[in-house]
Symmetry: C2
Subunit: 137 residues, 2 copies
Amino acid sequence: MFKIGELADLCNISADTLRFYEKNGLFQASKRSGAGYRLYTQADKNRLEFILTSKSVGFSLKEIADLLSINLDKSNRTCGDAKQLVDDKLAQVKEKLAELERLESSLQSLSDACCGGSESALHCTILEALATPKKPH
Amino acid sequence: MFKIGELADLCNISADTLRFYEKNGLFQASKRSGAGYRLYTQADKNRLEFILTSKSVGFSLKEIADLLSINLDKSNRTCGDAKQLVDDKLAQVKEKLAELERLESSLQSLSDACCGGSESALHCTILEALATPKKPH
DNA sequence: ATTGACCTTAGATCTTAGTCTAGGGTTTAT
DNA sequence: ATAAACCCTAGACTAAGATCTAAGGTCAAT
């Protein structure tokens, strides 16, 4: 059994984060010691790793709760359920990517048009471009 | 002169947002009416458009404050100053893009490996993959 | 037996960019 | 002269995901 600090160290997160996950219904310890210390089993650690892996591919904690509920009741849920969550997330990520690519291209244009020199900014193309209203995208 | 609601409508933002910008030192009205109403000039509207255009290319309000301070003191600031802010932002955006591309590829792999069918999720490749710890990137 | 490292809780704080509410004053049109 | 539509302020609230604080209890080693 691991105490909270031990599990936190093993998984490279803080004990505070573990308490936070617990408060938000994501991740409970299997037991408490006589003194009230949280005690985590290897199975708990596996569950935590599921959570952290999910986080690392971009799922929010709320979405991870959905994934966990499928995982906890595998036999009554379908592959389609799991894939739907992944595909929804993928669509979100693609949307953000498109927005960031738009920003990247705007910023690149601004940068390319500006000499960047040490003369005064009186006629700076960047400041001029920013002063020009743009249509909402 | 525009009242706050008029300017807000013209610029497609809310009056609350204008008050919020003012509270945060980004954008003040030139005058107040006898009754205390904010009154904005065309020059104010131009400043607001600078802010909104900056926002639309991804600058945070804090960064916009920096841009504004250059814009307000053009003759004592350089093109280099302005370009630096743009290039810093561009670097941030590229970083986020790289991270999102990493997420996209992970999610795409998860999605591709899963049949997505209506059989039970007992052997779902997505759930199995998420249960497998990943090295921190 | 006491120090230091660890654990407990509840609740406050942070960031960003607003939005909303309460309680009140003003302007405009009828 | 009264109702609708607008404006004012201060301050609370939101999302997300933690992080930090205060005040205290526990455990291991010296």
